[in-house]
């Protein structure tokens, strides 16, 4: 199989830091990645030279490793398939928005954050947007293109108090244009970030050891991304480098867990019309009522199993090989009431916002960090806690989920794997885990 992935992307960003617009930035990247797969070997080359000569040179470099492939020229009939997406329905293209209007958003957020409390000493507000147009053609006759527009806005606050400094962060990121600011107010994002920093000024050290944890709806969803998402990527499975290998059809989580990876959710951060191998995204049910039902697949790993890609072949840019990646990964909502779940928890920790995480797919051990958390005492939220990591083992933690509420929400994130970053969404309702090790100092 031979494949050409052409990409033209434009990015722009602006940051207001310490009340100053220090620098507006913009960039342009255009090029093609050429992949040749022969047997078990992939040859890959990329170039920013899109002339015929440049492309042929890259093709020759990519093909050089495919020594057992038959040489020669073969004509391939191509036509755009029915899944082709032209644009992602962005109503207000970022390039059509005056730079001064983008800066107004930053100033509004800065003022709202500072007005939240006198202890807010530093505010950093950033906004950024990208437009990425891709075209994929391969020797199987596939021809597809997509036009992906993404817009993000983030606020980081530092509050100073008697016990030192604390930080609060909040972001908004959608696969849409600037129309998102008609629905989401930058002042709300700023106040959320500021309140997070202010709450922690009086925070006590987090407890140390195994405790019941209640995760707020939309607190990050990173739990599933790390606890099982990466472990369900077929590249880890085919190398037997995942704790979920060989578990198909088995109970790997609480029956309350139905987990979906879905690149089709319009507007979410991990949404697209075709993946970076030209395949349509899909709503893939990975775990149904606790039973493992499928892994996520790209073209290369699906081919080995004689099945179709699940639309999870993604790459950071034309300079990278595609691999299996998540899109929008979420737990289906349950039926319980979030407030009641807290009320029924005699002691534990309530996490209203999670930061990032990391997993070892082979052992299943993973960590995820809190950026806003509170003690639960007698069914009530009491004192705020300082930041800490939680550590657990994927299958063990998933079995310990004993309550899922109905207040589902999604959050955006950036997923890093093997040196490549891609935008993903994570979602979950309020849920309780009966015991996870919290890495505090108290």
């Amino acid at each position: 199989m031979a494949e050409v992935f052409a990409e033209d992307s434009m990015t722009a960003s602006a940051m207001l830091d310490d009340r100053r617009v220090e620098e507006l930035s913009s960039g342009r990247s255009r090029g093609a990645g050429i992949r040749v797969v022969a047997g078990e070997t992939t040859g890959f080359a990329h170039t920013s030279d899109l002339s015929e000569a440049g492309l042929l040179a890259a093709a020759a470099a990519a093909a050089s490793v495919a020594r057992d492939g038959g040489a020669g020229v073969r004509a391939v009939a191509m036509s755009f398939g029915p899944t082709t997406g032209h644009g992602r329905g962005a109503k207000t293209l970022p390039s059509s928005v005056p730079k001064s209007a983008k800066l107004d958003l930053l100033v509004r957020a800065d003022e709202a954050a500072r007005a939240t409390g006198g202890s807010i000493r530093q505010v950093q507000v950033g906004c950024g947007d990208s437009r990425r147009r891709i075209l994929i053609a391969n020797s199987d006759g596939l021809l597809a293109e997509d036009d992906q527009v993404r817009t993000r806005f983030n606020v980081m606050c530092v509050a100073n108090g008697d016990t030192g400094m604390q930080t609060g962060y909040e972001s908004l990121a959608r696969t849409e244009g600037y129309e998102i600011f008609d629905r989401f107010k930058v002042e709300d994002i700023a106040r959320t970030a500021a309140n997070r920093a202010l709450a922690k000024l009086s925070a006590r050290p987090a407890p140390s050891g195994e405790v019941p944890i209640v995760l707020a709806g939309g607190s990050g969803g990173i739990l599933f991304h790390e606890a099982c998402g990466h472990g369900l990527e077929a590249d880890h499975i085919v190398k037997d480098a995942s704790v979920y290998a060989g578990q198909m059809g088995k109970l790997v989580a609480s029956p309350l867990v139905t987990l979906v990876d879905d690149g089709t959710v319009l507007g979410e951060w991990g949404n697209f019309a075709v993946d970076d191998e030209g395949n349509a995204p899909a709503r893939n049910v990975l775990i149904e009522n606790g039973v493992l039902t499928d892994y996520m697949w790209d073209w290369l790993r699906a081919r080995k199993e004689g099945r179709a890609s699940s639309g999870n072949g993604r790459r950071q840019s034309y300079q990278h090989l595609p691999m299996v990646r998540m899109t929008n990964t979420y737990l289906l909502a349950g039926t319980e009431n979030a407030a009641e779940i807290v009320a029924q928890t005699s002691s534990g920790v309530y996490v209203s916002k999670l930061g990032g995480g990391q997993v070892n797919t082979t052992t299943g051990d993973f960590v995820f960090g809190t950026t806003e958390a509170y003690l639960i005492e007698d069914g009530h939220l009491t004192e705020p806690l300082r930041d800490a990591n939680l550590i657990g083992n994927g299958p063990e933690v998933l079995r310990r989920i004993d309550a899922v509420a109905d207040d589902f929400d999604m959050t955006p994130g950036t997923c890093g794997k093997d040196g490549q970053s891609v935008p993903v969404g994570c979602g979950q309702a309020t849920l309780r885990i009966t015991g996870v090790t919290l890495g505090g100092t108290a």
């Binding site: 220090e22 530092v158 505090g440």
Partner: protein, 449 residues
């Protein structure tokens, strides 16, 4: 350099220009199960342009930036006009200037080894294949090698500005790494080994293999440990990672913007009296050694902490002006698409007198940590809060004992620096911004059962 100076020559009256041009070639081979899984070869190039619009007297100047992943003349011209337009929207600021040569001579370093260019691709492929084969065969408990990689890069950078900056550098790097999975019954554990150099001939694949095998096999049977306070001995690789976090709090930019727990503490005791921390890119042994910083000023040896006393921060030109001091030649930039900021490049902790074994013997009881996770989610360089996932072995009777997994170790960075009880003499030059050696820190909280 011709391209950089030709763009600089287009500066208009009242305008400063800085042009950063890179050109590079990369190769990467991944071996799996006795075959080449993938082979990547590519050339890449790009330009980053900063435009400084000088304001009326006293008003201050404005900076704009634009980059492009191509050196095609029309693309470079478009980047220049984008950067000019971007500059119009910045806030005028008297501290915003481009770097000016400051008379400090650069320590010229030879960071280029032709071996990266002259070694045939077949030999590079053989390195990855042999590393994979040797690791599989090294220990009967190694049940899988999920990847064995060889990669190299050569990159040339030219930087020119209207303020007289002219720097041009080139460097090569070569790297092998291997991920081993050891198994016994239902238990699986992982370990990574690597080796870095400036050419394939400087690599030590045997060491990478041995490290991956040791790290994966010795964790077999690992259990959670009991929660409690203990002394933690960190492996050199982990120490390099810890220092890179401390580095972000030593950035003068973080300090002037009130985002460092070190702010306002110069001259005070911030660490144990045996601790001396130097950022020295002029030491050619450092993998990240450099002659010039990201603004084209000479890199220099900066003593940040000596005998436990905080002496200084690292600055680029703008953060130095905000702090009313001079650049320490510490501008770093993430390639052509990034703008300069103040950061450490080659941190080294002055080695102590003891070997790793002697430190373990002295510590007696505690936890040896061979790898950490969640550095980005559990360590906050603003507040200093520190909490990371850890794998390693218990220390009992002064030697390594049972393996441990699924625990965290926690403290604050401030407290950890004050609680350093031993610094190893086993300094290792590692990729990244810091070297590493064995380090023992007392009174950390272990969270497990």
């Amino acid at each position: 350099m011709e391209l950089a100076t030709s763009v600089v020559a287009q500066a208009q009256p009242g305008e400063g220009l800085e042009v950063y041009v890179t050109r590079g070639t990369e190769n990467e081979v991944r071996a799996y199960d006795g075959a080449i899984e993938s082979l990547t070869s590519a050339d890449s190039s790009g330009v980053g342009i900063r435009v400084l619009l000088e304001g009326e007297s006293g008003e201050g100047s404005r900076l704009g930036f634009s980059w492009a992943g191509s050196l095609h003349p029309t693309v470079v011209q478009a980047a220049l006009s984008d950067a000019r337009d971007n500059a119009r929207y910045a806030t005028p600021d008297p501290d915003v200037v481009l770097a000016v040569p400051d008379g400090t001579a650069a320590v010229e370093q030879d960071l280029w080894d032709d071996g990266v260019v002259t070694t045939p691709m077949d030999e590079k492929i053989a390195l990855a294949l042999e590393l994979e084969r040797a690791t599989r065969g090294a220990d009967s408990r190694v049940r899988q090698v999920s990847s064995a990689d060889y990669s190299d890069a050569r990159v040339e950078v030219a930087l020119a500005s209207t303020t007289g900056i002219r720097s041009s550098t080139r460097r090569t790097t070569a790297f092998v790494s291997v991920d081993a999975i050891a198994g016994e019954g239902a238990d699986s554990q992982t370990g990574t080994g690597f080796s870095v150099g400036r050419a394939p001939g400087q690599l030590n694949p045997e060491e990478a293999m041995a490290d991956a095998v040791l790290r994966s096999t010795r964790l077999l049977g690992a259990q959670k440990a009991r929660s409690g306070r203990c002394t933690v001995v960190f492996d050199p690789r982990v120490v390099s990672t810890l220092l890179s976090v401390v580095a972000s709090a030593l950035s003068g930019e973080a300090v002037v913007k009130g985002r460092s727990f070190f702010a306002g503490r110069v001259g005070e005791s911030v660490a144990g009296t045996t601790l001396t921390l130097v950022d020295d890119p002029t030491d050619g042994r450092a993998f990240s050694a450099a002659s010039y910083d990201g603004e084209g000023l000479a890199c220099r040896r900066n003593i940040l902490i000596s005998d436990g006393i905080l002496r200084m921060f690292v600055y680029d030109t703008v953060s130095a002006r905000r702090a009313q001091t001079r650049s320490t030649g510490s501008a770093v930039r993430g390639g052509f698409a990034g703008t300069p900021s103040a950061g450490c490049r080659a941190l080294v902790l002055s080695p102590g007198p003891k070997s790793a074994e002697e430190i373990l013997a002295e510590v007696g009881e505690g936890l040896y940590v061979q790898s950490v996770t969640g550095i980005h989610s559990g360590v906050n360089p603003v507040s200093g809060d520190f909490s990371v996932g850890a794998e390693g072995l218990l220390i009992r009777g002064g030697t390594l004992a049972e393996p441990v997994r699924e625990v965290t170790v926690a403290s604050t960075l401030q407290r950890m620096l004050q609680s350093v009880v031993a610094i190893g003499g086993d300094l290792r030059w590692l990729p990244g911004v810091a070297a590493g050696q064995t380090l023992a820190i007392a009174d950390m909280q272990l969270s497990g059962d």
